[in-house]
């Protein structure tokens, strides 16, 4: 309190001094200098800051040896009762407050597995003693609560290592007062290597890079971005072409980081990369020849347009959405239902229906799945809690699961937010249709979401938004409107991020479906701009994809330079990314001229077109095809493992396709020169001609006629087994 008074006095003086020079308005609201000690205001934050109510200690589900505190303090009333009255005379002693076991353990005066949490001379100790001296009073019901918390400065740039800056945290209460809560906030960083933050809020720089330092107070977590740049290194940003808003925003960030973007990639690299990213296939040899021969200055832009108009673009996005919507047959979902749902989705995307309307239809759907395929949305998950979590994750890009049982520790979601969102899904009912494979979804118009601590009904509340008037209304209709509205703060950003991730292998928020305060976007302005454009483009995937592919940033080479070698978050150079399983499988088929047969598809269907998550083969599974059992984007696995290596080296797939496709045989029969065949194979697989060295190395293998076919097939096999094939660079 005293500190605040001093701060304010100083602020007033400062205002007076500055008055002549600049506008420095200082608004001083009514301050009570002598507030009565309060459990919620003064003692609860101590329990969090001193680490008493963390998940590893008394905040765990069962507490420690019978003493349970709510995790990070989501239940102050319950904590009050547990501390004062649950064990009668044991935990607090109002006659001799300093003898209270609570304090004896916290100061390490008696054995405490949790160790010493604070000292007898500390402010924390004094505050608890003061509260006990006052008789450990219960707080009145109308006690002011924090409504917002801010951390300042909001952006910190530090030069070199071991540079410091003090952060302060201010809480604004519901009675209009402000309070410096820096000693009570819990600080943490998401990148200790670049920036540490001490329990007192002192930021210290480490290695060059970025970090996000955060403060948690009450139910709020806020943060500040920290950029650490090398000390006194002369830096000039090179003259680079800014082709569109994306480049401008990327470059703005790179400037701050003092990182230079890599040069633009070659035509061959561009052709391969953009064809894979847009269509999931490799460029055909004819396309290769044509593109390289083209001398027009806008040939890259034209190529982008051609590729975006191909039907394969739709296939890729149908597949991605099918993963998000978990389209998969199983015990509860018939194959027919899954297929009907998938076909509907495909139709919608082929007709270029804006994705916000598509999602709106999904949420608002009703009826039998066979006539109303979007009702399939409610077939794959029946638990309202999981439905709410999945909806938030898939359409808004946020994971609220943690708030099911307690307020989210690293994000802003409280149990009330969570249960309020669940309330949109509690009135959905399902019954079997006449055809047992069909499920009928309908609105029950009854069914509530309850707070698990108080058992009170929680009315529907938009996530991070307002409470709509839901009396007698179809709740899902309200939700559909909110999600699809251009004013929704998450939807457009999330999809813009997903689209971005498709072309860079990594989102501006990464993981793509885990946006939270402690996982901020690496370039918030860029994400904001992409989202706005997406809305302006009426949620058209193609138009945003065009912007992205046309940018210099997308067309940067994957070769890093000295300044940007360590950067993976700011897109200063292209990332080398492994092809996903379906694309890899399709590309192998494409270059070997073989056709695949999958269940539910005609001969020649591609893996990216598979409707059912259940349908798979050994190759796809090994290379991490999503099983679609959860909507998490992490299901698409890019992790390498031994099975993958062995499969490619020894397995049927590559060998088999090479011989079944008979490409080499055909080319030899067509009397092609061996050197030309090698060229053709390189162009097919790598989208480039072999280098001089490669030609020389391979020449001896082509000399003898008897071994020619076998050797060429071996060369083909080697190409398919190389990283240059498997990776998008």
């Amino acid at each position: 309190m005293k500190r605040l008074a001093v701060l304010l006095a100083f602020a007033c003086v400062l205002a007076a001094i500055l008055h002549g020079r600049a506008d420095a308005p200082v608004i001083v609201k009514a301050i009570q200098l002598d507030q009565p000690i309060s459990f919620k205001r003064d003692v609860m934050p101590i329990l969090t800051k001193a680490g008493c109510n963390t998940g590893g200690c008394h905040g765990s589900a069962r507490g420690q040896d019978g003493f349970h505190l709510s995790l990070f303090g989501y239940d102050p009333a319950g904590d009050y009762d547990r501390i004062t009255r649950e064990m009668g005379a044991r935990r607090v002693n109002l006659a001799l407050p300093e003898e209270s076991l609570l304090l004896q353990k916290a100061t390490g005066a008696v054995a405490h597995t949790g160790g010493k949490r604070f000292d007898k001379n500390s402010d924390f100790y004094k505050a608890v003693v003061k509260w006990l001296d006052a008789g450990a009073p219960r707080d009145p019901a109308d006690i002011p609560t924090p409504v917002s918390v801010e951390m300042s400065p909001s952006e910190i740039v530090l030069e070199g290592g071991n540079a410091t800056r003090q952060a302060t945290v201010t809480a604004h209460y519901s009675d209009g007062t402000a309070r410096d809560v820096t000693p009570l906030a819990v600080f943490f960083t998401n990148n200790e290597g670049s920036a540490k933050i001490s329990p007192a809020g002192l930021v210290t720089s480490g290695a060059r890079g970025e970090a996000f330092v955060m403060a948690r107070f009450g139910t709020t977590t806020v943060g500040s971005a920290v950029i650490v740049v090398p000390k006194a290194v002369p830096f000039t940003f090179p003259l680079v072409e800014e082709r569109n808003y994306i480049d401008a925003l990327i470059d703005a960030k790179l400037r701050k980081l003092r990182v230079t973007p890599s040069a633009v990639c070659s035509d061959e690299e561009f052709l391969r990369r953009v064809t894979l990213d847009i269509t999931g296939l490799l460029p055909a040899p004819a396309d290769y020849d044509r593109f390289l021969a083209d001398a027009a200055p806008n040939k890259r832009a034209r190529l982008i347009d051609e590729l975006l108009n191909r039907p394969e673009f739709v296939d890729i996005w149908v597949m991605k959405l099918a993963e998000m919507l978990r389209i998969r047959s199983g015990a509860d979902v018939s194959e027919k239902a899954a297929l009907v749902y998938f076909d509907w989705l495909r139709n919608q995307l082929s007709q270029n229906v804006p994705v916000n309307r598509l999602v709106s239809r999904l949420i608002d759907s009703e009826g039998g799945i066979f006539e109303n395929p979007p009702a399939g949305f409610y077939q794959f998950e029946t638990d309202p809690l999981k439905l709410a979590e999945d909806t938030a994750q898939v359409f808004l890009g946020v994971q609220v699961k943690c708030a099911q049982c307690h307020n989210h520790p690293f994000d802003r979601w409280t149990m009330d937010d969570y249960r309020g969102f669940v309330a949109f899904f509690t009135q959905i009912a399902r019954k079997k249709g006449e055809d047992p494979r069909e499920m009928v979804v309908y609105d029950r118009r009854e069914g509530e979401s309850r707070n698990p601590v108080t058992n009170a009904v929680v009315t529907p509340k938009f996530l991070g938004g307002s409470r709509p008037d839901a009396a007698n209304k179809d709740r899902r209709a309200l939700l559909a409107d909110w999600i699809s509205s251009p004013d929704n703060p998450y939807f457009a950003k999330h999809f813009a991020n997903v689209i971005w991730a498709q072309f860079f292998g990594r989102g501006i928020i990464e993981p793509v479906d885990d946006a939270r305060v402690s996982n901020p976007p690496s370039n918030p302005e860029l994400l904001e701009a992409l989202a706005r454009r997406f809305i302006d483009y009426n949620y058209d995937f193609r138009r945003l994809a065009r912007d992205i592919c046309a940018s210099r940033t997308y067309q940067a080479s994957s070769l890093p330079n000295d300044s940007n070698a360590a950067d993976i978050r700011n897109f200063s150079h292209a990332a080398v990314r492994r092809l996903r399983s379906e694309v890899m499988f399709d590309c192998i088929g494409e270059v070997t001229d073989t056709k695949n047969k999958f269940k539910g598809l005609p001969l020649g269907g591609r893996a990216v077109q598979i409707a059912d998550g259940q349908t798979t083969n050994y190759f796809l599974k090994t290379f991490g095809r999503a099983s679609r059992e959860t909507p998490c984007t992490c299901e698409v696995s890019m992790e390498p493992n031994l099975s993958q290596a062995l499969l490619l080296l020894n397995g049927e797939t590559v060998e088999g396709k090479i011989s079944n496709g008979g490409l080499v045989k055909r080319m030899l029969a067509d009397k092609k020169e061996p050197a030309d065949i090698v060229n053709a194979l390189y162009v097919r697989c790598f989208t480039r001609k072999p280098t001089g060295d490669e030609v020389n190395t391979l020449a001896p293998l082509l000399a003898k006629a008897q071994t020619r076919q076998k050797n060429l097939e071996d060369v083909f096999w080697a190409l398919l087994n190389s990283k240059e094939f498997m990776f998008n660079h």
Binding site: D65, G66, A89, N93, L94, A95, L96, E99, L101, Q104
Partner: protein, 570 residues
């Protein structure tokens, strides 16, 4: 037993008319909605609802109806769709009016027919719950403290929560836990009778021995040390010390023959020590949570222990487990025994009476919502209890509520009987006493003042009274003067009247007479008032004297006690 108890609640006048029975209302209902499947031929899930006996036998999932408790009856739970499978199977849920009827029927004991039936049956059977024979009074005068120090070891700013409270079985004496001390109060005079220092820490539990001669206290310092101490009540001397624990002792008892001390606490162990030399005799490791209640049975043959998870164990005097009971759904907060009756209290809100021979519950009732924190037997077998609903109540052993005492302002933590009074203490440190018929009988101070403070206060009182005399005698003097003046005035008025009466009659004299008569009457009244005032002033003088004497006597007594304290300290 519960059914009988509930029977008392049904207003007698309306009893027969409103009675819902199986044969009259319920079976027809079953006939329509249930017997299709639950008849003797089909017996879906093994349940036949067509006869009362069959219904009471239950089915594959156990009992269908729990008489007196619709919330626990599986039949009701399935009908209200509170549990799966929803009944009636494949049909509409029963209308609310029918569900209400069924609920009322089950809650009223699920009677079979009018005129007997379930009321006559006692689920569980067994002997009626009542004191078989009171315990025998020991020979000799009731053990009371004699000349114990009254100086508190700790004088805090306020009292702490009352952790332990006990009443002597044979003397008007109560023991209250305090800060590093146990306080003894004479419950006849409601005055402090002794302070027993407990420098080991904070006593958590106190108990008198069965013959009232000894007082036991267990406690210590949380997470640091624990000890049990036993004093001789009359002399205040420590006679036994047992245990060297690393956390405060939460429960303890002394065997009826004074040979064994049992203790338990947060280390989940029950330990039995020899009372003669403090040696550890047995260590029992069974409880899965803190040991929170302990009691030896009156015959000294068994020890009952309860824990924070609701488990109850019965041991023989050699530490061998005889029974393990898990009826309570919350921590066991107290175990009490009297003659043949054994009672336990729990955070699940119930008090249960036990038949230890068979290890069965004989009665159970909801006593305090939120948790029962303490129980104690009266010599006649009644039970006093208190709990988290701030209330203190008196029960008959069957669970009939006999009395509700006026509630505390906070959690009522401990209750006891002492000297025919009910004593109880709460979380704020308030301790109250009542007579069994519910009248307040005073309070006990859990944070008594030091002798110096008391002497000081008594001296001040004397001084205060001593300062009164001038005002009292001044008042009396003034009253005397007033009375004298009145008397004189009266005399003058009488003389004037007489004179006027003697003069010859005329118009003038007639007026004068009237005037003088009136004046005389007024003076008479004034004189009477003055005399009454004088009498009252004289009485004050007298009573003052006795008040002063009384106050001086108190001061003398306290000074003597203080001197004794100083002497005994030396």
């Amino acid at each position: 037993m519960k059914a009988a108890f509930l029977a008392l609640l049904i207003p007698v006048a309306a009893a027969r008319a409103d009675l819902i029975t199986y044969s009259d209302q319920i079976r027809p209902l079953f006939q329509t909605s249930c017997l299709n499947c639950h008849n003797p031929d089909k017996q879906k899930a093994g349940l036949d609802l067509s006869t009362y006996e069959a219904m009471m036998n239950g089915g594959d999932s156990g009992k269908a109806v729990e008489p007196g408790n619709s919330g626990k009856s599986l039949l009701f739970k399935l009908l209200t769709h509170a549990e799966e499978p929803a009944m009636p199977r494949g049909g509409d849920k029963l209308p609310d009016s029918q569900l209400d009827l069924i609920r009322k029927w089950i809650d009223s004991g699920a009677p079979d027919k009018t005129g007997g039936g379930a009321f006559a049956k006692k689920p569980g059977g067994g002997p009626a719950l009542a004191l078989v024979a009171p315990e025998e009074r020991p020979k000799g005068p009731p053990p009371m403290p004699v000349n114990l120090s009254l100086e508190p070891v700790v004088r805090a700013r306020r009292a702490g929560a009352i952790a332990g409270l006990a009443g002597s079985p044979w003397a008007p004496l109560a023991a209250v836990t305090g800060q590093k001390q146990v306080l003894l109060y004479n419950t006849d005079t409601m005055e402090l009778a002794g302070v027993l220092p407990f420098p080991e820490g904070f006593p958590q539990t106190v108990r008198f021995s069965r013959d009232g001669r000894l007082l036991l206290a267990g406690g210590g310092v949380g997470a640091k040390l624990g000890r049990v101490v036993v004093w001789d009540v009359a002399t205040g001397k420590r006679v036994i010390e047992a245990g060297d624990e690393f956390d405060a002792v939460l429960a303890a008892d002394i065997s009826p023959d004074h040979s064994l001390i049992a203790l338990g606490g947060p280390n989940k162990l029950v330990k039995i020590f020899s009372a003669r030399d403090g040696r550890l005799l047995h260590k029992m490791k069974k409880h899965t949570d803190w040991v929170t209640a302990l009691a030896f049975t009156p015959d000294g043959k068994s020890l009952i222990s309860g824990d924070r998870a609701g488990g109850l164990s019965v041991w023989d005097a050699n530490g061998r487990e005889m029974l393990s009971l898990s009826a309570h759904k919350g921590a066991v907060t107290a175990v009490a025994c009297l003659s043949n009756l054994i009672a336990t209290a729990s955070e699940d809100g119930t008090i249960k009476l036990w038949d230890m021979a068979e290890g069965k519950e004989r009665a159970s009732w909801n006593a305090h919502k939120g948790g029962v924190l303490s129980i104690a037997f009266a010599p006649d077998g009644n039970i006093v209890s208190c709990g988290r609903d701030f209330a203190v109540r008196l029960w008959a052993p069957g669970g009939n509520r006999l009395r509700e005492f006026d509630a505390f302002q906070d959690v009522a933590m401990q209750a006891a009987f002492a000297g025919g009074k009910v004593i109880a203490g709460d979380w704020t440190g308030t301790v109250r006493a009542w007579t069994p018929d519910g009248r307040r009988a005073g309070t006990l101070d859990a944070n008594p003042p030091t002798m110096a403070e008391r002497v000081d206060a008594a001296a001040k009182r004397v001084v205060e009274i001593e300062s009164l005399p001038p005002t009292i005698s001044a008042a009396r003097k003034q009253a005397e003067e007033e009375a004298a003046k009145s008397a004189a005035e009266l005399g003058a008025a009488a003389a004037a009247l007489k004179a006027e009466q003697a003069s010859p009659v005329s118009l003038e004299t007639r007026d004068n007479l009237a005037r003088l008569n009136l004046a005389f009457a007024v003076k008479q009244a004034q004189a009477k008032a003055a005399n009454e005032a004088l009498a009252s002033a004289r009485r004050d003088e007298v009573s003052y004297a006795s008040r002063l004497e009384a106050a001086r006597a108190v001061l003398v007594r306290l000074r003597a006690a203080a001197a004794l304290t100083i002497v005994s300290k030396k």
